[in-house]
Amino acid sequence: MAALSINNVCKTYANGTEVLKGIDIAIEDGQFLILVGPSGCGKSTLLNMIAGLDDISSGDIEIGGKRVNDLSPKDRDIAMVFQSYALYPSMSVRKNISFGLEIRKMPQGEIDATVERVAQMLQMTHLLDRKPSQLSGGQRQRVAMGRALARNPSIFLFDEPLSNLDAKLRVEMRTEIKLMHQRLKSTIVYVTHDQIEAMTLGDRIAVMKDGIVQQFGSPQDIYDNPANLFVASFIGSPSMNFIPAQVVESAGVLGVKICDDQGCVILPLPHAQDKMQPWLGREVIFGIRPEQITDARTAYRAGLPVMACHIDVIEPTGPDTLVFVSLNNTKVCCRTHPTEAKLPGHSMELVFDVSKAVLFDPATEQRIA
């Protein structure tokens, strides 16, 4: 187990493409770090660089306080689980797990004991003598994890390990990975493009885009306080609503003006008065999550602003019904209780909980308040 620190790491390819532009991330011993972002954001490159499979152009990577820039992968005390599992096809499951140990010249008795322990932990003792081609996707994933566990490294690296599994199995394995982390208290770096995996698994999330860490923080912090429009739109499903709106003053309080085809309301934003002041009369992007626009029954506080809106479409999901309305000519998603949702074409009173609403600068897409 070891802490990991990534200091101002850059990666530029020979043809001049900048993949990573100064990455700074530090996690403590035993933390679960998620690197999340759309494809091409550089998250896998960063993971490969932590593993030592790819060179660093500039900057430092430290594992357990030791600079590892020039160490080869085998000397970094890491283990990695790949998206394609990367099991050695010609070897049995037992061999797959023991291969790395044999190369490290571990005594045979210890190897056997380790393989046995790992197989029991992952409940795959009965699979030990099979070849990878005789295993299902979930079993292969398990073996790949077993191979990493057997090595007992100071850091585990996961490269989109669940992407090749079907939806049900993915949720099961997700829980299993989390359990494993809780039990072993191991340091993990986990790359994914799935924001739900990021939210559910991580202690720390680094949201990346275009080779830059857009925001680094705890899952709840990133969800509640996104640093910019990209982070706000990437994390959360269904995604946050972004409504272009004008900042106006009403009864001495600043708010945003929201209209539909029947009329307008002003939503006061008491928590953001100071930061809104320079924007009075100007257009901002008003960000509000679907669960913050809801029906009167679900809203747990009284005295919140209410607006009657014309419903365009509804999408029942079971636990909630998503109601789509049009505000300031923008499609807005609201999460309501299934029994409270009205039918399309009708009007419905929606309650706006603005206490967690955020504002973005339309030009720079950075957070205002």
């Binding site: 085998k74 990695m80 050695y88 291969f99 090595r151």
Partner: protein, 285 residues
């Protein structure tokens, strides 16, 4: 599923049968002629069945037919060819495997250029390299020897074997090599313990291809080997062209079949791996 014999199908089968006969006829003529007596050959026609079967022509072709001034049959030259083909095939296949491994899994600056240049090697006609190669062999002091011939075939075969192995290895996910590197395996460990064990099919393809090419080669054999070190293809030519009065077609045919047997044998033994290799696709872990 039983299909009814429609007129269309009958025509189709007839056509296929005709094709098969057309292709098998030369083999039949060779086989039947080789077991006929000379009188039988002179008296009957080409495709008639032999009146009596004798293997005299075979034993003569093997051990006493004259190839030029020597009259020791094909025996010596057959072993020449074996001594030339087996090392050439093995060496060129192994080096090709390493080459393919490097250009697919350990890309370096200019590795694509190198691979393209190697590909060009597949298209260089034999005749072009004759003179430079003769000079090289002379400089190395292995002109007119089996070793020289082996060197020529290894160099010439590398382009193909590299191409075969490279195309096979690129279908294997890079992650396999990455995983092995993290497990602590080095260049050769990864090659021998992870990649070679799954390369059986492409190994067979290479061996069949190379063996057929090298065994059947005539030009390099006739140019770079002389006298006692000549391969069987050259000896066969000499045997057919050496006549003392009577043209012994039965001996010629037997010698030709002897010369062709090893490639047939290799294809029969390894051919099923060949097909299996092309259809397996079980590499993706």
């Amino acid at each position: 599923m039983a299909k009814h014999l429609t007129p269309g199908r009958i025509v189709l089968y007839a056509a296929l049968l005709l094709m098969a006969i057309y292709y098998l006829l030369p083999l039949y003529v060779m086989l039947s002629t080789s077991v006929k007596t000379l009188d039988d050959i002179r008296g009957g026609n080409l495709i008639a069945l032999p009146q009596s079967i004798t293997f005299d022509a075979w034993s003569k072709a093997w051990s006493s037919a004259c190839t030029g001034v020597e009259c020791g049959g094909m025996k010596g030259f057959f072993w020449n060819s074996v001594k030339m083909a087996v090392p050439s095939v093995l060496i060129s296949t192994l080096i090709g495997a390493v080459n393919g491994y490097v250009v697919s899994m350990w890309r370096f600056r200019g590795s694509d250029v190198l691979f393209t240049l190697l590909l060009v090697g597949c298209f260089i006609p034999f005749q072009v390299v004759l003179l430079p190669m003769a000079r090289l062999l002379g400089e190395l002091g292995i002109a007119n020897t089996t070793s020289g011939l082996i060197l020529v075939h290894v160099i010439y075969g590398l382009a193909f074997t590299t191409l075969f192995f490279r195309n096979f290895f690129v279908t294997i996910p890079d992650e396999l090599v990455k995983a092995a590197r993290i497990d602590g395996a080095g260049f050769w460990t990864i090659f021998f313990r992870i990649l070679l064990p799954i390369s059986g099919p492409i190994f067979m393809v290479c061996v069949i291809w190379q063996f057929t090419q090298i065994w059947n080669d005539f030009l390099f054999g006739v140019v770079f080997a002389s006298g006692e070190s000549q391969p069987i293809t050259v000896a066969l030519n000499n045997l057919v062209n050496t006549s003392t009065g009577v043209k012994e077609y039965n001996v010629d045919m037997a010698a030709a079949i002897i010369a062709a047997l090893p490639t047939l044998f290799v294809y029969m033994v390894a051919g099923r791996y060949f097909v299996r290799g092309l259809t397996a696709g079980a590499v993706k872990g």
